[in-house]
Amino acid sequence: MSKEVLERLKTKFGDRVDVVERSARRAYVTVANEDWIPVTRYMHEEEKGRLCTATGSDRPTGVELLYHFGIDRDGTIVNIRTILAKPFPRIESLAKYYPAADFIEREIFDFLGVEFDGHPDPRKLLSSHDRPADFHPMRRDE
């Protein structure tokens, strides 16, 4: 397991990261919105994590972002999670530092209405161009 990765993450960010090891190969790390970019950039730039993809989901507590970083050298995945407040979820974009996040952030913007500040190309990705701009099909708003 990427025990060393998690230890280094805890040493660097202290109690700003909440680490849960679900199994030998899967860990979930929750961070506050303001630590989002420092932690995700650290995962890619320092730990050489590969952004497999990201999952956005509408949950009772807000819109959840879960970025899955594959650590290929030890075959594990470290997932970084943050919850964004509704009704207007907003966060800084990782895509401007790491192009692999480009498409998936556009998709999350498209389906869940998350605004990614500083995204190099903030357009919808998958839904049709004539869809109303304020309708996001994976939101569960009343």
Partner: protein, 390 residues
């Protein structure tokens, strides 16, 4: 003055229609823009209304070529939530079907690559040699495609032992054909002339764009989930990860050819070592939790994430096919290349191919200057020119 070239987006046979806009100055490509979503089917939402067993049938339909990959990845995600061990026989049977799928997918690509550069013999051979692999898959699973083979916890059906000699015979014949094809392709100065040095994707770009599978390994990025996070029977058989440092279209083509040899080795060893016993872990209940299943599909990592709320249906099911990550690598790859080679640069990531034939070149007033047929003709003419001069 630059010209805009739209590629795509629709064709009835496409699984993943893309709309690509190239900005060109004369023959040289300046930049590329990619627009997806022409065939978005809302499967992530649909999966939330299906049971875990039904989901495997649904996700198979994401892609007709790598249908085993998606259902295996989804099954692994459920197994990750449950935390169960898959019986050894099921792991071997899963690996056999998956590697046969890699064989037919790579062979399909070799054939289409031949078609694009105007090598009809390679096209005919590739597709001819692919057929027996589909027959083997039909013998094992009952279907040439959409095998309905994987389920959370194991596989759906067992296989009688008497079919294995027939499968081994098919593999022996296929192995000879791969040698023949590899030799013919790699010794051909014209094919080398068309592929070598064309469509450079540097290692740095491959990492930055999150490239996967042969696309990444062709740029020297040594990743392969079958080795990095061993699943199925991969840790119990002898095989090698193929990487190349060429960073060009030739490197990716070579990887696909050589990987077929490795896949044949894997399937043969799996058949030889196939253990007895149960084929299903018998999952009865999926607890609350989150699980990730990812596997090395022919084009790269297929990724599935499942969040369970304790019912028999997922609360969230995220799916990501490798082409999603590989498509953006087209941008750095095509920059500075000619329009003639743009077709090849796009095809090398092995997207659904037919869309490359839908390429159209417009001048600034919107008049069509090159239709789909002309672009393919340009590509064929370049091959002819190299052939004449060699």
């Amino acid at each position: 003055m630059s010209t805009t070239i739209p590629i795509g987006p629709f064709h009835p046979v496409l699984e993943e229609p893309e709309y690509i806009t190239l900005e060109v100055d004369g023959e040289r490509v300046l930049s590329a823009d990619i627009d997806l979503g022409r065939n978005h089917r809302g499967m992530e939402l649909l999966a939330q209304e299906k049971t875990y067993d039904q989901d495997t049938f649904l996700v198979e339909r994401i892609c007709g070529i790598c249908s085993a990959s998606h259902s295996w990845a989804a099954s692994r995600a459920v197994e990750d939530v449950v935390g169960c061990e898959v019986p050894a026989r099921a792991r071997y049977l899963r690996t056999i079907v998956h590697e046969l799928e890699r064989l037919h997918s790579h062979m399909l690509w070799v054939g289409l690559g031949g078609h694009i550069i105007g090598y009809w013999t390679v096209f005919m051979w590739g597709w001819k040699y692919r057929e027996p692999i589909l027959d083997a898959l039909e013998m094992i699973t009952g279907n040439r495609q959409h095998y309905a083979w994987y389920r959370p916890g194991g596989v759906r059906r067992d296989v009688p032992d008497e079919i294995w000699p027939k499968v081994l015979k098919i593999l022996d014949e296929f192995d000879e054909k791969v040698d023949l094809l590899t030799g013919a392709v790699l010794d051909d100065p014209v094919i080398l002339g068309r592929l070598k040095g064309v469509g450079i994707l540097t290692k740095e770009d491959a990492i930055a764009y999150g490239a996967l599978g042969p696309t990444a390994r062709g740029s020297g990025v040594d990743i392969d989930l079958r080795r990095d996070e061993p699943y199925g029977a991969y840790a119990e058989v002898d095989w090698n990860v193929i990487t190349q440092d060429g960073c060009d279209c030739l490197a990716v083509a070579v990887i696909r050819l050589l990987e077929m040899k490795e896949s044949v080795k894997i399937v043969k060893q799996c058949i030889e070592k196939l253990p007895g016993g149960p084929i299903d872990a018998g999952i009865r209940e999926v607890p609350r939790g989150e699980g990730i299943g990812h596997i090395e599909a022919p084009r790269g990592e297929t990724f599935h994430f499942i969040r369970s709320n304790g019912t028999n249906m997922p609360e969230r099911h995220k799916m990501r096919a490798p082409t999603y990550n590989n498509i953006p690598t087209f941008r750095p790859r095509v920059k500075g290349e000619t329009i003639t080679d743009a077709l090849l640069c796009f095809a090398i990531i092995d997207p659904c191919y037919s869309c490359t034939e839908r390429m159209t070149v417009l001048d600034p007033s919107g008049r069509i200057t090159y239709g789909p047929g002309e672009l393919l003709r340009l590509s064929h003419e370049k091959t002819e020119e190299i052939r004449r001069n060699s």
